[in-house]
Every structure is written in C-alpha cells, then in structure tokens.
Symmetry: C2
Subunit: 229 residues, 2 copies
C-alpha cells in the first residue's frame, strides 16, 4: 500500500499550504518514496487516523506517525539506504536548532502576514473555526491583526540575516546538497508563497535564490502548487 500523507488544505484540495506538511512532502521525495496525499481541512484535523490532533500525519503500512520532525526521523530510520535527511546524528540534533529558529523567527511573522489570506482560502465551516480560534488566541480580529503588515516586512528581512549570510556562503543549509534542515525553512517560505501574494523576499536576496533552488528540487515538487495570485 502506498504511503499516505494527510495534509492541510483549504477549499482547494490541490493547494496544501501547511509549512509542516511541505517539510514532509520534500522529505518523502528526498527519500525517493512515492506517496498519496489525503487533503484535510482544519475541521477535519482532530479525526485524522483516529485522532492525532495535528498535521501532518503519515501512514506507512501499519505505522502511523504524526509531527513533521518525527516523520523525518521515522523515514531516516526506516529507509536508511535512501539519501540521508540528516547527514548523521550531529545533523539530526542540529536540525532541531534550525527548527527552533525557524519556528520562532519565521513562523510568527509569516503567520501574521498571511492570516487573512489563509482565512479567505478556506471553506466557510473552516473559516468560522479559524477566525474564532485565532481571534480568541490573539485578542484581535483577523483584519486588525494584518493591518499595516507591509511595515513588518523590513524588520523581518533584517531578522533573517543569519540565514542570509549562510546562504551567501553555501548553496544549502545542508552544505552542497539539501538536508531536512533546508526543508524545515523551505516549508515556512512555501507556506507564505502558497497563501499570500504579499511580496516579501526581494529578488537578488540570497534567501530568495535558495528558495528558488528548493522549488526546483525533486522534479519541482514545490512548484506543483502555484504561488498565490
């Protein structure tokens, strides 16, 4: 039976947008594994595979794994002869630092820039869930949360300086070739690309160049979904 990837979508099941699901899509391609996707809307997440409560969830035969990093570790352990996602144990542990940095530097900003765009791409029942959960958590309406978002781009680009300097010196976070650490950061920018047409990375930025290289990987997997118009 083919590997199944349960991934988050809006009203269009062909446009997955979750950063964590994109990490796993590229990790599966990196390992040369075929898979089928199962599109899941926000309100369907609680019941995936008996209730993980999160996306992505991977089913591989009898094995079910939730959480993108856990899935990468599962794939690395289960398919050791395919190209490595971590380049050794040191790479596996240091990928956690990349994850922690991406999650705290890129995710909150992308989330705040694309919040209303994400909402608008959902089915009505998911829009209601999304609006209520986010507005309750943040104490503001979605419209108020995205107000003035253009002003957040320049300070965000400044915060990316450690990544920019690295990618000016080597083609991928993983060195000459990509590793799961690249997919971790790729997922965050792909979430933005698929969700929002707001221009963020300027042309010529080493991060923009690296992102294009990532979009080209594994037969252009990342380009299967178009940029938001």
């Amino acid at each position: 039976m083919a590997i199944l990837l349960h991934e988050l979508v809006g009203s269009d099941p062909a446009k997955p947008f979750s950063p964590h699901c994109w990490k796993v899509r590229l990790a599966l391609r990196h390992k040369g594994l075929d898979f089928q996707t199962v599109p899941v809307p926000f309100t369907g997440v609680p019941t995936i595979e008996g209730g993980s409560g999160i996306v992505p969830v991977l089913r591989d035969g009898a094995t079910v794994v939730a959480d993108s990093f856990a899935i990468a570790e599962y794939l690395e352990a289960t398919y050791p002869d395919a190209p490595s996602l971590f380049g050794g144990e040191g790479g596996r542990h240091l990928s956690r630092f990349v994850e922690s940095w991406s999650q705290r530097t890129i995710h909150p900003v992308v989330g705040s820039l694309a919040l209303l765009d994400i909402h608008d791409a959902l089915d009505p029942v998911d829009q209601a869930y999304f609006r209520q959960s986010r507005e309750t958590r943040m104490g503001k309406t979605l419209e108020a949360l995205v107000q003035g978002r253009e002003q957040r781009v320049a300070p965000f680009l400044q915060q990316l300086e450690p990544l920019r300097a690295l990618l000016g010196a080597q083609p991928f976070l993983g060195g000459p070739d990509p590793l799961f650490a690249d997919y971790i950061v790729f997922g965050a920018f792909q979430w933005l690309r698929v969700s929002s047409s707001l221009p963020v990375l300027p042309a010529g930025d080493p991060i923009a160049d690296w992102f294009e290289r990532c979009l080209d990987l594994h037969g252009g997997e990342g380009r299967l979904v178009p940029a938001a118009a």
Copy 2:
C-alpha cells in the same frame, strides 16, 4: 612537539577571552589532545606564525591553521578516531548555521556590553590600538558605546529564544552530548563571562544551565579562567 594554540589575551596572559579561541580550546579537549597556549596581545596578532592576521592560530607539527571553524575541521579530519566534533557531514554543515546565528545574534551584543571592560583589561599599548580601531569603526567613544548597556540585556535575552527553547528540550545543541556547535555558542558566553561582571543570563534560564554544563566539560576547562569580578 605539542600542539600550539595562539590565543588572545589582555595584560594577564592567564586570562584568554576571545570567543573564537575558547571554541578551539574546548574542541582540542573534546578530541583529547594536549596543547600549549601562546598568549598574544591585540598588537601581536598581525605577526603570529608569519602573519595570519587573526586569532586563533593552531600549529600542529608543520601544519598551521587559522580561524576557529577551519581549525575544528582540521582536527576532525586529522584525528578521526577521537570523539567527533560534528557528528557527521550534516552536522559539519549545519554547524555553519549555528556559527552564523551566534555571530549575528550574540557577538554584536556581547561586544557592545563588554567593550569598555575588554579595553580596561589590556596593556596600555593594546588599549590605544583597541580604542582607536573600535572608535573609528563605530564612530563613538567606548564610553558612549557602553552607555545604558543594562537596557540592552532584556531585548538580547528575548533574541535568544530559539536557543532557549532548544536547550529546554535537549541538554546540548549536539543532542545528549556536546558538539562543536555547542562550543561555538559557548565561546560567545565565555567571552562575556571572562570580560565583564555585568549580569546577563538569569539563574534558572535553560541557557544559563547549559552554560554551566559547558563550563564543567573536559575537566572544567572553561573554569580555568575565573569570571570577571
């Protein structure tokens, strides 16, 4: 002949303070290698080993290597049977991200907090060089540069959140055991510890706990030099 490590000092040759030199000290101990240190003041740097122009510089027999990361790579390649500094090629490449992050997140702040303390610990001829080079580069006196430095601590602690979250989840950046990536970040905080008595990391911060663990490593190498009083 013993390995020689040329490292930066002030008026007290027993108190090396350069973050990059500390990275190498711990890397040498990690590899179980004996070494002798050659203390070098700021004005002695241009003439080390025929003129590398930077510290640290390592001499191992006929081989001379300058730059802390290059030295770590040299040690890893030359002493492959000793404990690994990178945990594989993935770890080596991702250590560059840790270096880029540390250099752009921790170094500028520690430099700006400890600038005058560093100056005060130098010999007069090095003080003159240090003051002139730094004041020319920054366009302000050292005294003006450190003014209000206490106010920079809270935003700095906030910027460390990606590291803090990671170290709340695993003992070292390298996972269960330290890797060169730990020494990269350790070097920055050791630079602060040795140079300045300004309190920065609060007790109970997972980063403070990790730093104490690093000070304990390899027979307490990091504690051979006391904290600035």
